[in-house]
Symmetry: C2
Subunit: 374 residues, 2 copies
């Protein structure tokens, strides 16, 4: 066995005093690789290169340290599942360890295609070169395909750029996927013909996974403009598989469902920027939805900024992707959000678009006008 010597780095925060932190850092090096007692590993390449290496360990505050640990890129097998495993597999079960940052190696990243559209690709499809992108969701669950399609028509007619299914709208008997896709595609195409806009409809596609590729090909043939995928529900590598597939080649909006437990603790888990920024780019999402500060959820402005940062930080050949802050956003917050996010953002307003009267065309126009006027 001979390895290239190329390594990637994961930065963990660790709780404890200096001695405990050093012990934890060393434990990570073994737990995430060989999972074998140190004293039983003979000297040689396994001990010297396969086991993780502490590159740096510094105190960041009382009882809190930052450890930089490097891993040989070859131990990932260049698979997403094994990359996740090396980064945080077993140690997700140990308290007081959080993944704060990752410095991938270009030689590792070259095995993945990354976002196929990214910010610029989505702007091109929409023909919206500069301003924030306007997005909404079809809901509530329980409506029929025709009722959702009626909403979709009005949203598209009013100038919304991206219309996605709510992520809880799956393939329920009262709203079958195929029928919904057909109705919503027709509705949005009709509106586009009338407005001249390029509104994109993005259905939510989930399990059962035996059929996910077929369902997506059906959706593509029917004319969808992209896909809503939930990596926490369907799996990170499934997303990678779908985004890398050249037959599919549709923009992907990723949704954070079920991923919250990675970020709710300060001391354990994966940082906001990594899970909602860098890892989403790794699996080829073109935009990531997350709960904005000050909405129904509890992210702080700093956490939102860290996500934005990671959607655009240099990462080999990976394009920047759009942050899509959501979760109870309202029109009256647009000026503040524009201030906070600038133009490189997808504004996702769901329920609030229904709050300004029954005419959704009018409400959507109001949303668009508001964004364009600022």
């Amino acid at each position: 066995m001979k390895l290239s010597g190329e390594r990637f780095k994961v930065i963990y925060s660790l709780t404890g005093n200096a001695e405990e932190a050093r012990k934890k850092a060393k434990d990570i090096c073994y737990e995430q690789t060989v999972e074998f007692p140190e004293d039983l590993i003979p000297s040689g390449i396994i001990k010297e290169e396969i086991v993780g290496k502490i590159e740096d360990l510094i105190k960041i505050e009382e009882n809190r340290f930052k450890a930089t640990i490097s891993y040989a890129i070859e131990i990932t097998g260049f698979e997403i599942t094994q990359i996740l495993n090396i980064i945080f597999g077993n140690i997700s079960i140990k308290p007081g360890i959080k993944v704060e940052n990752i410095q991938f190696s270009d030689l590792l990243l070259k095995h993945f295609k990354g976002p196929r559209f990214g910010r610029s690709g989505i702007r091109k499809l929409l023909d919206v070169p500069n301003r924030p992108i306007l997005c909404t969701a079809l809901k509530p669950m329980g409506l029929s395909p025709q009722q959702l399609a009626d909403f979709a028509y009005q949203f598209a007619k009013g100038g919304i750029d991206i219309i996605k299914d709510d992520h809880g709208i799956a393939n329920q008997e009262f709203c079958p996927l195929e029928k919904r896709i057909k109705s919503c595609c027709e509705a949005v195409e009709k509106a586009n013909r009338e407005t001249g806009y390029n509104c994109l409809y993005m259905p939510n596609i989930g399990g059962p996974l035996e059929k996910i590729r077929d369902k997506i090909m059906m959706a593509k043939e029917t004319g969808v403009g992209g896909l809503l995928l939930c990596p926490g529900l369907i799996g990170f590598d499934i997303c990678r598989q779908l985004t890398e597939n050249d037959d599919i080649l549709l923009p992907v909006l990723a949704h954070p469902a079920l991923l919250g437990s990675f970020v709710t603790s300060r001391e354990n888990g994966i940082s906001h920027g990594i899970i909602f920024g860098q890892l989403m780019r790794l699996i080829g999402a073109d935009a990531i939805i997350y709960p904005n500060y000050g909405g129904r959820f509890s992210f702080t402005p700093e956490e939102c900024k860290s996500i934005v940062e990671m959607t655009q930080s240099p990462m080999a050949h990976f394009s920047p992707i759009f942050p899509a802050p959501a979760g109870g956003m309202t029109m009256n917050r647009i000026p503040e959000m524009l201030d906070f996010y600038g133009n490189e953002v997808i504004f996702l307003i769901g329920g609030d678009l229904h709050r300004h009267g029954k005419n959704l065309i009018k409400n959507s126009k109001k949303f668009k006008k508001l964004v364009e006027s600022l």
Copy 2:
């Protein structure tokens, strides 16, 4: 739209005082279903049946409540991805909400096959009717297929029942999956011919997921006795898809990699029993590996007991599955563990089997003798 009226129940613990808890419970009912402002939903079936219902809300301690919320089974679309989404999708991002228990409905569960072998099926394959099952892992990462196969031969020869790959042994260039499977199958078959035992070799199979079915079929044709799958890495519905596939039909040992963040907090996440017990049965695992109390990890005896309980509690047509406590277990703990777990358990000892001299046949025999003598 007409629903059956059948509902399943999720029991959440909520932090806060009585008013905050009631508010949180109500929020869950909407967030996990319609994601729509309550006052904008017209009365009718959506409000009455699609929205979650608070069935019960009781104080369990100061600033902590238990809410039972029911959901119409139809909103799951009878998909694993959407079941996970309903149970904990969006609210995973909200602090102070933890899934403590689930009472599935038989009408919901009948859509899934569940464990194909379970405890009795594994016992039958091994011809081990009563005693605890003996298991070990092939490691450390960095060894060649031939070196791992040599270990496998010794373990099987010494009487280990199940030999699994370490979950970090993927498809790295220095240990390619196909070659490893071939070598290890040959080694275990040779030992079985010599001993008359039915030792099962279970390789770890992960991404890329385009090829997972083909890899598993190759493994089956080569003669593996089962599979090691990591639902946290490959996705829960992928596991369900693989276990339900009649062409595959191999026992599955599930590994907890990356799932730790769901259980590390007392106030947010999913309880040990649900994520490592009930959900593993839902996706068809026949055994679940988890870190035993008192090892390298931090589960308590009570948490381990709750996992055991959920591997065997009544659950429609779903067989009981094996708990496989692991994570730094040593031979000298066997008497205590036998006391704690009884016979319905898989004892997984990894590194420690290497600690008693280089002769792994002898060490394995010692392990077996110890278990049989008690």
